[in-house]
Symmetry: C2
Subunit: 362 residues, 2 copies
């Protein structure tokens, strides 16, 4: 069978040894789907990197497989992390596969139902604290030190090493780096990882140029754009609801060195992009993921988006992670009816010709 | 870029023409993951076909991409289906991508939250009736006829044609057909499709043998095993909660012709397999999917599972489709704590050494 997973595929780019376990859930190798409707509408060549189709439904799997494999190699007895949901789901899955203990600390509100269900079903010990992500992270850093657990948040250097492989794939899928790589920014590890990946592929002559890195924070959780930590971050995009990013400096460096930018998008802009991706492209991502597309649209409106540019938006997580937001976000709700053919027929007739016409568009 | 999707990959096996739209969300090409722990425990060579990692999170995408593409080719103005959730999600996504109208009729209880959220966010018209799946299917059959909508339930012949490609992939991934293909049975289209696929690959000399087909119904929704329709089907595995399967005869034929079998599994057996897949293999599937693994375990207990057999269990849907069942099914729940480091440390210490030891095992 074909070798699968990022450790096998990109071995020469990763800090692995003969003793690193051959851990994989077949993460990576995610599709790059062309957004035909939005490409036409905006006059660009737009692609969506489908990171939500990783094994646990988010990009976190790329870094986590390496972090957990290295933890096992180093003889660790447990892994621990703070999480807004995606990190804990991923840590729990890979720890389960290797039979390692996994402890996750999550904030007590706004962790999406799907993500919480993942961590518990994979058998992690889930501790829900009356605090926010930044407090949870501070806590697990200390506990990891004291207890000798391996911290697998993105401050773990293997996480960024694994995540950079997504940039390799983008180059391989397009045959070259794109003009612009647009990405949501929360804890800021992922933009740093992509930039590192693009640089390594460029330095080893696997691509001949570098993209501009465009990072987008949610307006209510935008410490990097504002220039200071946000004590009470708020956004519908729970995966990037972070007030004091761990990879702040490297994220800024990625935007500056690449000639790119960091900007904010509002929750309304995020949800508009989220709905539009589903209705026009058939792609259901989590709200935070849509920040990349919302950001590109905002630049388009400001005449900052070059005509014909080849743009890759990273969609970081699967829409199924957060079904409640989906149900709240739609304007046309499910309609309850008796079990009667005429009632169903009338409901169908009454919608005739109105539904597609009523959609807002980006 | 590499051609993607089942229409491009398996064109010569499918009823497509020059006028069939090049529709794809990169469905198919799903991983086949070895279940190392269960293989060792049961003395077999067990693989999991990860159909829940398709674009909308279930195997339905393979057949739906073809059914919707053919509907568009034939000039249809709308697609319609009844659904326990997965079919509607898939129909809605592909219809959205082609800009076709989509109407879905679902029963008013037991459609998992994730699935309902998908249909609405993709922009389908969702009608929830006070009835069960079988009543919904009868209704949409009549409405499709009257209104000239294209019915995209599995009675649509293109659905089975598309779904058979999963059998092709299993043969390609293993280099040969397995000894046994184990699969959940609900509306019974999928077991029929796999059998058709294995036969076509065998007839064209792409594989040298055929597998036994083992189909498993939920105990409370087992019309085929019981030999008569079930008026009020009941099971936690909502995706196979069907009392009068559309593909009944072809499913029986698959089991009989292949020298295989059809059997039932209880909800307890399903949930035990569901938890075990997550905790031991790091795989989160939907409850119905676990019926395949539960069924194999039941045969093992009855000494009906040959030592060393190469077995593929089809995991039909993603666990994220049904987060509520996951939260209910686990024995170790999330623990709420104040935002206090000592409280977290105590909670961790109290679990020391107890968690992995307390797991039930298959």
């Amino acid at each position: 069978m074909m070798k699968s997973g990022i450790i096998s595929r990109y071995r020469s780019f990763l800090p692995v040894t003969q003793r690193t376990p051959q851990l994989t859930l077949h993460e990576g190798n995610t599709p790059l789907i062309r957004a035909d409707v939005l490409s036409d509408r905006w006059g660009i060549d737009l692609y969506l990197k489908m990171e939500g189709w990783n094994p646990t439904g988010s990009f976190k799997d790329r870094g986590m497989v390496l972090a957990v494999a290295k933890a096992a190699e180093e003889g660790s007895r447990a892994v621990i992390c703070a999480s807004t949901g995606n990190t804990s789901a991923s840590a729990a899955a890979y720890a389960a596969r290797l039979g390692l203990r996994c402890v996750v600390v999550v904030p007590d509100n706004r962790v999406a139902l799907g993500k919480l269900s993942q961590a518990v079903v994979y058998g992690a010990e889930v501790l829900v604290i009356e605090g926010n992500f930044d407090q949870a992270l501070e806590m697990v850093r200390e506990i990891a030190d004291d207890q000798g657990f391996t911290l697998v948040n993105s401050v773990n250097p293997y996480r960024i090493q694994g995540q950079k492989t997504a940039a390799f794939e983008v180059c391989e899928q397009l045959g070259e780096a794109p003009d612009i790589l647009a990405i949501p920014v929360g804890n800021a590890g992922n933009i740093s990882a992509y930039w590192k990946g693009f640089i390594e592929f460029h330095q080893t002559s696997r691509s001949s140029r570098l993209p501009q890195m465009w990072g987008f924070e949610a307006d209510g959780a935008a410490p990097i754009v504002r220039g200071e930590p946000v004590e009470h971050p708020e956004t519908v995009a729970t995966a990037i609801r972070i007030g004091n990013p761990a990879s702040w400096k490297t994220a800024v460096a990625a935007a500056v060195e690449s000639g790119g930018r960091m900007d904010t998008v509002t929750d309304d802009e995020i949800l508009q992009a989220y709905r539009e991706l589903a209705r026009s492209e058939g792609i259901f991502c989590e709200p935070a993921s849509a920040a990349s597309v919302a950001g590109v649209f905002k630049q388009k409106q400001s005449n900052e988006l070059p005509d014909g540019a080849r743009v890759v938006c990273v969609l970081t997580g699967n829409g199924l992670k957060d079904p409640s937001t989906a149900m709240d976000a739609v304007t046309v709700k499910p309609k309850k009816l008796p079990c009667d053919r005429e009632a169903v027929r009338e409901a169908i007739d009454s919608r005739e010709g109105t539904v597609h016409g009523s959609l807002e568009t980006l």
